[in-house]
């Protein structure tokens, strides 16, 4: 099976879906002639022309809204935010329009659109360009929120998202584009709303999504040396959330650490923790632990940036607390 990068997987997904469905087009800043700020759309302009690979000026609210309007009348836009930091100036379109039109119209109009782009902390780009915003979107009924951690998931989930009849906020890991994974060629669809057990184990469940899946896998490897057997569950889709898979894992292990790269207060992990205690009360041997970033805007300096973000050692520490080892 070919091993490809996360970036290439996303590119394949869009290319295949655009070939399959003429109503799919991509719009965003620098997606065409520049080949994408992160090169995710590389080569698509050459393949599909300017009509379907639309370079937009710096007007996120404008082109996000254009995507919504175009989706209402039958096209299937992919709107790329150069980074999800810029989605904040378009958030009215996403929350007040995309998420609500199906409901406001009494089910007459639906909005098959994908808002995609990189999110989560990047490297030394400071507070405005380095933040995890998924909790904002996961809060909103009417949206689906997807965050793949591997190239395989990136391809399979993006293709499904493009075919979904609802607005999907698809947040890619800004630091994951070069990661690689085995990805089968051709058709690959992964349903939204299914968590994935990335590593099986019996002592404790680590829950993560996007970049933190990798951090958890590293932590699991390290803990294995101490004889601690971690199960790592990748949420993949924050909304809809596959509580059943998470709960099944925690019922098995009796302990749970929820990790997220974003801020702690009202972070999505808090909701996950609620759901798990609700379903697994009698199986829990320890309080559910959360590992998050520090509650501060991201600093620029590398050493501070590392300190603020959750690291392998923080996950290891939380695991040891949950196992009453420290």
């Amino acid at each position: 099976m070919p091993v490809i990068s996360y970036r290439e997987a996303l590119n394949q997904a869009m290319r295949e879906e655009m070939e399959r469905d003429p109503d799919v087009f991509i719009m965003g800043e620098e997606v065409g002639h520049y080949n994408g700020a992160y090169k995710v759309t590389q080569g698509l302009l050459q393949r599909f022309s300017e009509r379907r690979v639309v370079d937009a000026p710096i007007a996120e609210m404008g082109f996000a809204g254009i995507g919504v309007g175009a989706a209402m009348v039958g096209t299937r836009p992919i709107i790329e935010f150069m980074t999800f930091n810029f989605s904040l100036v378009a958030i009215d379109q996403i929350i007040n329009n995309a998420a609500k039109i199906y409901q406001m119209s009494g089910g007459q109009y639906h909005v098959p659109i994908v808002f995609r782009g990189p999110g989560g902390p990047a490297v030394q780009v400071a507070s405005q360009h380095s933040q995890a915003l998924e909790s904002f979107y996961a809060h909103v009924p009417g949206l689906k929120v997807v965050m793949p951690s591997t190239a395989l998931d990136a391809k399979g989930l993006l293709k499904t998202a493009i075919r979904d009849d609802n607005p999907v906020v698809f947040i890619e890991g800004e630091t994951l584009y070069n990661t690689t994974w085995e990805v089968p060629e051709g058709e690959l669809l992964i349903p939204l709303g299914q968590a994935d057990v990335k590593r099986t184990g019996k002592d404790i469940t680590l829950i993560a999504w996007s970049k933190m899946v990798w951090t958890c896998l590293d932590a699991a490897k390290q803990l294995a040396d101490d004889g601690i057997d971690c199960e790592v569950v990748d949420i993949r889709s924050l909304r809809p959330l596959d509580v059943d898979t998470l709960a099944a894992s925690v019922r098995k292990t009796g302990r749970c650490v929820i990790t997220e790269i974003g801020w702690p207060v009202a972070g999505f992990g808090a909701e996950v923790a609620y759901q798990i205690q609700r379903q697994c009360m009698d199986s829990l041997d320890a309080p559910i632990e959360r590992v998050t970033s520090d509650d501060v805007p991201m600093p620029y300096a590398k050493n501070l940036e590392d300190e603020v973000q959750p690291q392998v050692k923080d996950v290891v520490g939380a695991v040891r607390r949950a196992l009453y080892l420290d």
Partner: protein, 505 residues
């Protein structure tokens, strides 16, 4: 019945305390939650709130005494109750004023530690109050070090008191119930304790604040060191033969009619074609049902059962019951089962070899007699416990069983009320069952299955006359009770039942 109150655990690391001041006097009436004393622990001066109801009959320590954790400090009971035995027991349990070297640590050192820990002492276990700086889950919180999983922690099981010659293992009810305070255990530990038949009160927690966590329960189960005396689980051991007091009518035969109606349901005659899904219905098993299934399977598989049956003359017992009921009037209705529970308890008192438990490498003989009484409830089966049934009067046994059965059906029993039995009784007499055998409820070593009292023709002095007979079947754990031993015990039981006046002795 009066009982001894031990010094409660008032801080996670407390091993002893100084009883600074009694805030009640001997003879005061107290209710759960009442402040009875102030106790200086290794952390701070803490309130000692009583968890029981009754009258403080006797203080066993003076103000200023240093007392070991769990050691007797007071006797509580009904006004005027005879507490001589308890006083003796308390003395032998080694409670009493620790004439021991008063305060162990030098005041100065202690003061330093106190100031470092002072805030924590006011709070629940530390993990519950992780500081805000810990928002990322990153701040190092280091509760007391503990063992790793897999390696059974040392000292998981609270050691039985060793002080005093007459202190025996298996008499932990006072001493090993260290605190009347809340039992701290993780939800999983609680679930597991029920599954494994572990009495959490006998397990020492190694989690923060002494929280009992999974590893503690597993260690207790594996080590077999948990006090089997308290080990009965929430659901008992009958093979689904539900039963409660025969002929009392107190027990709703809830399970039986349902079963009967299922059995009676007429299936349409079908050609011998293969059954399809339409031919059966799957109903998801409740948690209780799953636990019953698991425990029954384990018991039947792991406990080598032998069965001893004996037919007894029930006429004297029925007559005795009649008289008793006339005596007590409408207050309590005494059932045959109540009398049998009492008889079983006395028989065990007389032959404690059968009031025992297989412990892997030892046979534990219990010194107190706690009888589990199987009660059928709509959801399954519960076996509430009549504690010290040998010492209780028949009237109080009857009242207690009725109360326990009523609350069992409301699922309102407390954990301690379904744990700790040393022998069980199951009765299906009210369903007309003549005789049956029951599965033992580990770690007990025996259970008595009681059938219906029935009219039979008996030969009396060469004449055939009408008589009453009742069949009891004893299931014995052969590892503990051999056939001959069980038979001797049944003989003792038979005497008690056939000469029921002796039950009052």
């Amino acid at each position: 019945m009066a009982q001894i109150i031990g010094l409660p655990k008032l801080s996670p690391t407390m091993e002893e305390g100084v009883l600074v001041r009694w805030t009640k006097k001997e003879g005061d009436k107290v209710s759960p939650g009442d402040l009875v004393a102030e106790v200086e622990t290794d952390k701070a001066n803490m309130d000692f709130n009583i968890e029981d109801e009754g009258v403080l009959l006797k203080f066993l320590v003076k103000e200023g005494d240093t007392v070991k954790l769990g050691a007797p400090v007071a006797i509580i009971g009904k006004a005027g109750e005879d507490i001589a035995a308890l006083l003796e027991q308390a003395k032998s349990a080694g409670g009493a004023p620790a004439a021991a070297p008063a305060k162990p640590a030098a005041p100065a050192a202690r003061g330093a530690e106190d100031s470092a820990n002072a805030p924590a002492a006011q709070k629940p276990p530390r993990e519950a109050t992780r500081p805000e700086q810990d928002q990322a889950g990153k701040a190092a919180v280091k509760p007391a070090p503990a063992a790793r999983p897999g390696s059974p922690p040392v000292g998981t099981v609270q050691p039985a008191p060793t002080k005093g010659a007459s202190a025996k293992p298996g008499q932990p009810a006072q001493t090993a119930r260290p605190s009347a305070s809340r039992l701290l255990a993780s939800p999983l530990a609680k679930t597991l304790a029920i599954e494994l038949g572990i009495d959490l009160r006998q397990v020492t927690g190694t989690g923060p604040g002494g929280r009992i966590v999974e590893r503690d329960v597993r260690a207790a189960a594996e080590g077999g060191q948990h006090n089997g005396h308290g080990a009965a689980a929430a659901e008992t051991s009958e093979t689904g033969e539900a039963g409660e007091a025969a002929e009392t009518g107190e027990a709703e035969p809830a399970a039986a009619p349902a079963a009967a109606s299922q059995a009676l349901a007429v299936r349409p005659a079908r050609p011998a074609a293969e059954d399809t899904e339409a031919d059966w219905t799957d109903t998801a098993a409740s948690n209780m049902r799953k636990r019953i299934a698991q425990r029954m399977t384990e018991a039947k598989r792991d406990v080598p059962h032998i069965y001893l049956m004996r037919e007894l003359d029930a006429a004297p017992l029925l007559a005795y019951r009649e008289r008793l009921n006339q005596l007590v009037g409408d207050k309590v209705k005494i059932s045959v089962n109540d009398l049998i529970v009492k008889a079983v308890a006395l028989a065990l008192r007389r032959m404690p070899e059968c009031n025992a438990s297989w412990q892997g490498d030892a046979i534990r003989q219990f010194h107190r007699v706690h009888i589990g009484v199987a009660v059928a409830i709509p959801e399954g089966l519960v076996t509430p416990v009549v504690r010290d049934a040998d010492a209780k009067g028949i009237g109080s046994i009857a009242a207690e069983i009725k109360d326990l059965a009523d609350r069992a059906r409301k699922r309102a029993l407390k954990v301690h009320e379904i744990q700790g039995s040393t022998f069980s009784v199951s009765n299906l007499g009210m369903f007309g069952i003549e005789r049956f055998t029951a599965i033992i409820n580990p770690p007990e070593a025996g259970i008595l299955a009681v059938g219906a009292a029935r009219d039979v023709a008996v030969v009396d002095k060469g004449n055939v006359v009408a008589g009453k007979r009742i069949t009891v079947s004893m299931s014995c754990d052969h590892r503990v009770i051999d056939g001959a031993l069980g038979a001797r015990w049944l003989t003792v039981l038979a005497e008690l039942i056939e000469k029921p006046e002796s039950l009052a002795l």
